[in-house]
Structure formats: C-alpha cells, structure tokens
C-alpha cells in the first residue's frame, strides 16, 4: 500500500514535470500560477497546519521575496539566484524580528496581528525609494515559461518534502505538540519559542521563493500586487480545503481549487472570488478537516460523515 502510494506520487510528479513539453502555452501559464499557489499553501501549512498558528499574513513573505529579487536585479544588477537569496534573507529577518513578539500571541490575537501586518506592508514599501516607491520596478524580461514552470514545480517538491520531513522528525513532532497543547509541549522540554519562530521562518522562506519566481516571471511589480492580501485568502483556503496538517492535502487543495477557479474566471472574473468564499464556508461546516480526512473516512461513514461533522460543533 505504501509502496503503491509512493509509485503513484512519483508518476504524478513526472506527469506534472512533463506538462510544458506537450501542454499549450495557456496551460503552462496556468500551471505556473497554480504551482506557486500550491507552494504558498504548503508554506502556510508549516506554521498554520503543523504549529497551529493561523497566520493571516504570509503574503508579507511573498512580497518580500518578490522585492528581494526585483531590488537585486534592477537596482544592483545582480543575477536572479542572488536575488532569490536576498529575498529569503529579507523573509527570515522579518520572521525573526516580528515573529518573536507576534508569536507570543495566541488564537484570535495572532491571526489579527498578522492580518494587520499584511495590510500595512504595501503602504510602507510604497514609501521606500530603493523599492521604486508606489510606481514599482520593471525587471529584465526572460521569456522562458518552461523554465519558470520547472522552477515552480521544483520549489513545490522541496516544500512538500520539507513538510514530509516534519511528519517524521523531532522538529515536526515538537510543532505538533505545540499545536495540540503549548504548555504541555513546553513541559515536555520543547523550546516553544525557538520552534515557533523557526516554523514561521521556514514557512516564510518558501513563500518568499514563490514570490521571487513570480516577480521574475511577471517582470513587473508594485506594492499593491506584491503584498496582495487576497493571497492570504487563497493560500489558507487551499490548505484547509485540502487538509491542513497533512503532507499532500495543501497541494491537492491548491491544484484542484486553482483549476476550478480558472474555469470560473474564464466566464466572469468576480465569480471566481465568490467561489473561493463559498467553498471555505461550506468546507468549514461540512469537512473542517479537509479533503484528506474526508477521503479517509467517507467510505466508512458515507453521508453521515458530514452530519457527524456538523453535530460535533453545532450549538
């Protein structure tokens, strides 16, 4: 069973990697977006799904990654790789500086503090000269969608492997312990502050890398689009819909929801946004533990699965 699943995953990954070689341009461009969103969902999964700290501000890391690449390439004429490293550095510094105080907050307070942070970043960056203020920066174009697609896929694979490593490492167990009972984890000898900040930084690194790839691909960025707060909506919904705190859930959630929303957006753009909202409302009521849990238990329960979920949390 385990071997079968591993083989299936390898086949799926190979198929995904082959898309740019036989798919149309539109499909490849959709693929890059979907893969980068999957990276964001997977990155959120580390802090939100495993450590249990529902960050509503991971878009900040994405924006920092984008600006890291843009500033390095446009202002300092450095290569793309150095820009990515610079973006990662910005994200890690942010995670350490703001993570330390903000991660002391719990529950609602943490969620709102991160939401507030994500709302002010655009205003702050639009006043920084080196970041092009509110006009933004134009990057040197590189017309190679195939490369960007494979980069995004590689990044998603790295993020997923990292999450898989969480499920079997001391660090990951520490995070799960924090999620389930933070005082308990501390009593058992988990350095909760260190673990939480590391998880926040790790989650930020993947988001920043995704932002960097996106910036170079789109070749233009301004504060509003780089620190787009609706990205938080998407990454959280995708991770939760697929199954937060599971290895493959966020990937499946991101790819499936991206596909549906792309189909809807081809009709009317705002319908896609509406769809995201409705999905999350329905998912919280009917399948709060995501697709992963539903797949596992639907066979045993049938339709009663949904009723049980409602019964567990209704007044």
């Amino acid at each position: 069973m385990k071997a079968l699943r591993a083989v299936l995953i390898v086949i799926a990954a190979a198929l995904l990697a082959a898309v740019p070689w036989f798919g149309s341009d539109v499909l490849v461009q959709f693929g890059i977006n979907a893969l980068l969103l999957a990276v964001l969902a997977q990155g959120w999964n580390i802090i939100g799904g495993y450590a249990g700290y529902a960050s509503f501000g991971n878009s900040v890391f994405y924006g920092l990654g984008s600006y890291g690449v843009a500033i390095a390439m446009v202002q300092w004429n450095l290569p793309f790789g150095v820009g990515m490293a610079f973006g990662v550095l910005l994200a890690v510094v942010f995670a350490l500086l703001l993570g330390l105080p903000v991660l002391r907050l719990r529950g609602h307070y943490f969620a709102i503090a991160t939401l507030a942070l994500s709302q002010v970043m655009a205003a702050i960056v639009s006043n920084i000269g080196i970041a092009g203020q509110n006009i933004g920066l134009v990057l040197p174009p590189l017309n190679n969608d195939r490369l960007f697609y494979e980069l995004a896929l590689l990044l998603l694979a790295a993020a997923t492997l990292t999450v898989w490593w969480l499920t079997r490492s001391r660090f990951g167990f520490g995070l799960i312990a924090i999620r389930e009972n933070e005082e308990g984890a501390a009593v058992m000898g988990v350095n909760t502050t260190l673990y939480k900040v590391l998880a926040f930084a790790l989650s930020g690194v993947f988001s920043a890398l995704a932002g960097g790839i996106h910036a170079y691909w789109i070749t233009f960025l301004d504060p509003e689009s780089a620190f787009d707060i609706s990205l938080n909506v998407k990454m959280i919904i995708m991770a939760v819909f697929g199954g937060a705190g599971t290895v493959l859930g966020p990937v499946v959630g991101a790819l499936s929801l991206s596909a549906v929303s792309e189909l809807l957006a081809s009709e009317v753009t705002s319908i896609a946004g509406l769809f995201f909202g409705l999905v999350i409302v329905a998912a919280v009521v009917l399948m709060p533990r995501g697709l992963a849990d539903m797949m596992r238990r639907l066979r045993g329960f049938g339709w009663r699965y949904f009723i049980e979920n409602i019964r567990a949390s209704r007044l």
Partner: protein
C-alpha cells in the same frame, strides 16, 4: 495652534464613528467568542443599504438608519441561526475561517450587485458647517458623531438594565449557568449576532455620509474595529468610545504630520503594539 485644534476635532468626530463600528464586533466577540472577520463587510452592506434608501427612495441617511439597522439585524439573525450556530463550538480557527469566507462572499457579491464604482451619500445639507471658536465642524460629521455616541451609550444601558441585555451578559460569562436559568442559547446567540450586525449597519450608514463607499472598504474597517475593541477592552461598551477616539485622533495627527498613506500604518502599528504589550486591552481586565 488653531490647526492642531482643528485636527483634534476631526479626530474626535472620526473617533465617535469608529466607536460604533467596533461596538458590534466587540459585542459578538465578547458573547459568542467569534471574531467576525466579515464585520467590515457588513458595515459596507449597511453603507450601501443607506445609499440605496437615499438615492432611490429619498430617505434621509440619518432617518434611514433604523431601517438599515433592522435589515442588518434580520440578516444577522438568519446567518447565526442558519449557519454560524453550526460551527459555534468548533475550534477558534474554524470560526475565523468561516467569517473570513463570508467576508469574501459579501465583497464579491457587492461588486457584482453594486459595481466597483465609488458612491457617496450627499444630502442637501452635506456642505454645511458649524463654526466653534476657530474650528470648523462639518454638520454631517457632527451629526454622525452625535448618533454614534447615543448608540454606544444606549447599548451600554441596554446591556445593563434590560432583561435581554442581562441574558446576553450572563451567556457571555457562563453559557451553562445561563441555560439553567432558562436562556435559549440558539435564539440568544442569533439575537446577539443580529444586534452586532445592526450596529455594523448603523455604522455603515453613518460612514456613507462622511466617506466614500466601495465594495472593498470592509477588510480595513474590520482591522480598525478590531484595533479599537482591543484598545478599549471587551468588557464595557464605553471602552470602545475611548478606543475609537484614541484611534481617530492618532490617525488625524499622522495624516497631518507624517502623511496620509501612513494613517493606516499608524493605527495597525498601534494594534500590534497593544496586542504585544497588553492583549487584554488597555482598559480591559487581565484575562
């Protein structure tokens, strides 16, 4: 000096409006333990309701407030009864998520129904001013401030002295005990959420008279309401007046001395600071 007085006056007038915005959020949070991330979106709906009443039926925005509040109350009652009661006992993150989803739904519905154009409610007296010393007070803002204070104090008296208000406070303190005394929680939760939205609706109607409306104003209004509720604490409706005034004054001063783009930075910066230093609120009891 006169400029400073004018800025302070602007901040205070704005702060009254902020207080009503936050009041509904604080009420729902304190009683139901739901942080309603769609609160700003409901303020936006209230503003649009008021705009439609004025534009198509010619109802004065201030006289139309009870109607707007009633509409939002009905919506809130139905939402809590039909949807939110289903997840009230779920982990905190799930209730955050579902209201987050509602926010998205409402924003996009508003965009579809009302278009993304800016709207303003402009009654004939919109340009009138009151001179007070050297300070100019726009009549509309003054009226909005007055209504806001009446609503907030009225809410406080209602919670203290009426049977329903006492039931709401009892439920906030101890649901089980309240149940034993004959409170029907499903109904009471729905009434509380409805009241929260009625306040949001009234706040939206007032907001529409002093500022521009579009479908996207919700998210930042939610964050501001939250900041005010945090600063004022959840225990006492009068706390949100202090929180609202504080935020209004800080925003006005920031706009003048640092720049208009930094008004939001200042208010959210304060929010984060207050959260870190004193999560129970500047005026609230320690948790």
């Amino acid at each position: 000096m006169e400029l400073l007085a004018q800025i302070l006056a602007n901040g205070i007038l704005l702060g009254g409006l902020y207080a009503v915005m936050a009041l509904g959020l604080a009420l729902v949070w304190g009683v139901l333990n739901i942080v309603n991330l769609a609160h700003g979106a409901f303020i936006m709906l209230g503003a649009y309701a008021s705009w439609h009443l004025y534009t198509y039926l010619g109802i004065d925005p201030f006289l139309g407030l009870p109607l707007t509040a009633l509409l939002l109350f009905a919506l809130g009652y139905a939402l809590q009864r039909g949807l939110l009661n289903l997840v009230v006992r779920a982990p905190m993150f799930n209730t955050l998520l579902i209201t987050f989803g509602l926010e998205v739904v409402l924003t996009y519905l508003a965009q579809l129904a009302f278009s993304a154009d800016f709207r303003t409610i402009n009654p004939p007296y919109a340009g009138s001013n009151v001179q007070f010393g050297g300070v100019v007070l726009p009549l509309v803002r003054l009226a909005a401030f007055g209504v806001a204070i009446v609503l907030t104090v009225g809410m406080w008296l209602f919670l203290l002295h009426t049977r329903l208000g006492r039931a709401i406070r009892a439920t906030a303190q101890n649901l089980l005990a309240a149940r034993l005394y004959g409170v029907e929680p499903r109904h009471l939760y729905a009434v509380t959420f409805g009241l929260g939205l009625a306040l949001a609706g009234a706040a939206g109607g007032l907001y529409g008279t002093v500022s521009q409306i579009n479908p996207y104003i919700g998210a930042s209004l939610t964050a501001k309401s939250f900041a005010i509720a945090i600063i004022g604490g959840l225990d006492n409706p009068l706390g949100v007046i202090v929180g609202g005034l504080f935020l209004g004054i800080v925003e006005s001063l920031t706009t003048l001395y640092i720049g208009p783009t930094f008004a939001d930075v200042a208010s959210f910066g304060i929010l984060v600071l207050v959260l870190i230093v004193r999560p129970s609120g500047l005026l609230g009891r320690t948790a």
